[in-house]
């Protein structure tokens, strides 16, 4: 083999691997990316049942109900709209009414959001960034959230809870 042929082999091999990687990435991008929505956005966009997305907002006070066998229902609100959420499993340590929450799952036929994962932040002053941004954009940002968030420089870990897949 000449030097040129050797180099071409290596370059050709590299391009082949890169092409495979690009194909894998594009394929994965199409299937496994999850969008973020707030209840208002859900109401406006008419998301189809069964399509997975992340729902963020505040847990509406007074709506948390615990059923049998770790079933939980609550409503997520963002000031503009509310969306009922059903979850089965253990909620994160700092899941509270009135606090920010992000749930992942899909709507069912009756318009209830069936979550299989609920994330909350492990900090009393914390609000998930997606939720804070969305609330700010809609003008529902209360200044005391900001004051609280600034008071604590250390906001931290994410508790996550994964329930039984339904």
């Amino acid at each position: 083999m000449t030097r040129k042929q050797r180099r071409l082999t290596i370059i050709g091999g590299s391009l082949a691997v890169l092409a495979i990687a690009a194909a894998l990435v594009l394929n994965a991008m199409r299937d496994s990316i999850v969008f973020f929505s707030t209840p208002t956005m859900v109401a406006e966009k008419h998301i189809l049942p069964g399509r997975r997305f992340r729902l963020g907002g505040l847990v509406q006070p007074g709506t948390l109900k615990r059923g049998d066998n770790l079933a939980v229902t609550f409503e997520v609100a963002d000031g503009g709209a509310q969306l009922p959420v059903a979850f089965k499993g253990i909620l994160p340590d700092l899941f509270r009414e009135g606090q920010g929450v992000v749930a992942e799952g899909a709507l069912d036929a009756s318009g209830v959001f069936r979550a299989d994962t609920v994330l909350a932040k492990h900090d009393e002053t914390y609000m998930p960034k997606d939720v804070a941004d969305a609330l700010k954009k809609q003008g529902h940002w209360k200044d005391d959230y900001g004051a609280k968030a600034n008071a604590g420089t250390s906001q931290t870990a994410q508790g996550a809870s994964q329930g039984a897949k339904q």
């Binding site: 990687a21 496994s32 900090d123 420089t153 906001q155 870990a157």
Partner: protein, 661 residues
Amino acid sequence: MIAETGHYALVLALALALIQSTVPILGARLNDGALMNVARSTALAQLLFVALSFAALVTLHVTSDFSVANVFENSHSLKPMIYKITGVWGNHEGSMLLWVSILALFGGLVAAFGNNLPLSLRAHVLAVQAWIASAFYLFILITSNPFLRIANPPIEGRDLNPVLQDIGLAVHPPMLYLGYVGFSISFSFAIAALLEGRIDAAWARWVRPWTLVAWIFLTLGIAMGSYWAYYELGWGGWWFWDPVENASLMPWLAGTALLHSAVVMEKRNALKVWTILLSILTFSLSLLGTFLVRSGVLTSVHAFATDPTRGVFILLILCIFIGGSLTLYAWRASALKQGGLFAPISREGALVLNNLFLTTACATVFIGTLYPLALEVLTDDKISVGPPFFNLTFAPLFVPLMIAMPFGPMLAWKRGDLLGAMQRLLAAGIAALVALALVWAWTGGGSTLAPLAIGLGVFVIAGALSDLAERTGVFRMPPATAMRRARGLPRSTWGTAFAHAGVGIALIGIVCETTWNTEYIATMRPDDLAKVAGYDVRLEGLSQRQGPNFREMVAQFTVGLDGERLAVMTPSKRNFTTRAGASTTEAALLTRGFSQLYISLGDVTGDGGIAVRIYHKPLVLLIWFGPVLMAFGGLLSLSDRRLRVGAPKPAKALRGLQAAE
């Protein structure tokens, strides 16, 4: 007084770093030995002052001086001593101080043990180190000073976030930083080579041990962090493809590639330009990791910081160093002479293949981590890229890499014999097929992918063993000869075998845990019995207990197997009175061989029951045992005679390196 001393020492370290970043370069241009030697003394003095500054912050935390804002926000007088010390780096300011301290430590080590380096190379390397150090000193002093005082000192502190009050914090960040920052040495060597326009095999010989040290620490740091998340977050996951985890995985992948390409450069004087580029990329990814974690652009497990001025400052550092080094590379790389030739099927070819797959895998992680950020900046759409993305991209790229892995060490340099390598790997292949068939038969053919993956893991392990068997001739020679040959084998060969086997072991652990783990989630009342993977888990009762700075509710479980009582497990839920409403879940673990039983608690229900999560995780410990074995292989390789030859005080220098662990 201590705070002011620490602050002042940090300013002095900055001044020293500024001298170190200019004078030695000037000396190299003027060919003035005295000016070049300034680098050595300033590097050591810089280390002294940073160490002083760090010691000052530790003292402030230990003595609970709440007049210092950093201590007030992250400490509490009732906190146990160990967490008072580890709390120093459990916050943004302190962890950045740890970062520069380690940077200065590496600079000091080069200065102290680099006597055999050519004078101008050492001057350039230390000057580049000082550029990085200056940037980060400025960052700390301007945006994140840990020594700021509070006008009206409060009596009590706000306490460290409870999740961080764990022994994991003592080990994980320092290890990770030793890894991240350790790659700054190979970066500095690469920039120095570009500045000097000269690079040879000796250069690779100097770079390799430093890269290896950084890689060992990063490997252990990532494994440690993963185990910490596993037992502390309370739901049994050990890798979340969280952006912060990816931030440490990317430099690891690039660093692993660098480690292998540096071998080619040292042995065959080939792949020079590529090795330089990898050195730059590896440290750039370390800087990117620091940016992702420290700037607060992500909201995830470790994002402690929210201040945007910090983010912009680190972004600026990132752009200057990555942009600058890549520009320099584009400008000067063509000046470096091309090295030895090799056929595609050869040891070099195998190592190129390794580099190709590792860097491509690294690129997919990069895309998955940064694409959501880029999309949000550009279109305001918020998306999340989770485990499915990485499983679909990262995993398929690792499969060919692992298939090729046993072939590499079997091939000769320059021109290899693939057929011969296949013959020698026949035994490994048979072992893999037997394992595949056994697993498939034993699990009743439930999953097809899992037995295949386990077969691959066995192939990698058996391949590493057959390489050793081949070299020692253990099955062909009399035992005495084989023994002698085994002793005569270079330690780096043993290191390669251990590290490669470690990859296979980790793969087996990952596959077994994800495929056959059993999960049981339910509300339990005292005397309730749960059956999980053959174990009988009985809740005996709940009790309250008072800890140093928390109250905890402890659940007593007895675990039995086939009617025999095995152990008592006591998971708990802690409420931290010192930090209103903060609570953590302390999981209880029962280790049986390499498998574990895992219990964590949820909320108490109204009628006296408690939500309980019980997992049985088969062979889960292999996931972390694999990386430990890899790091051990790295350590063996580091102690190889070849890397010591030519050093003036070889034994001492190496002991010094190992002691840093």
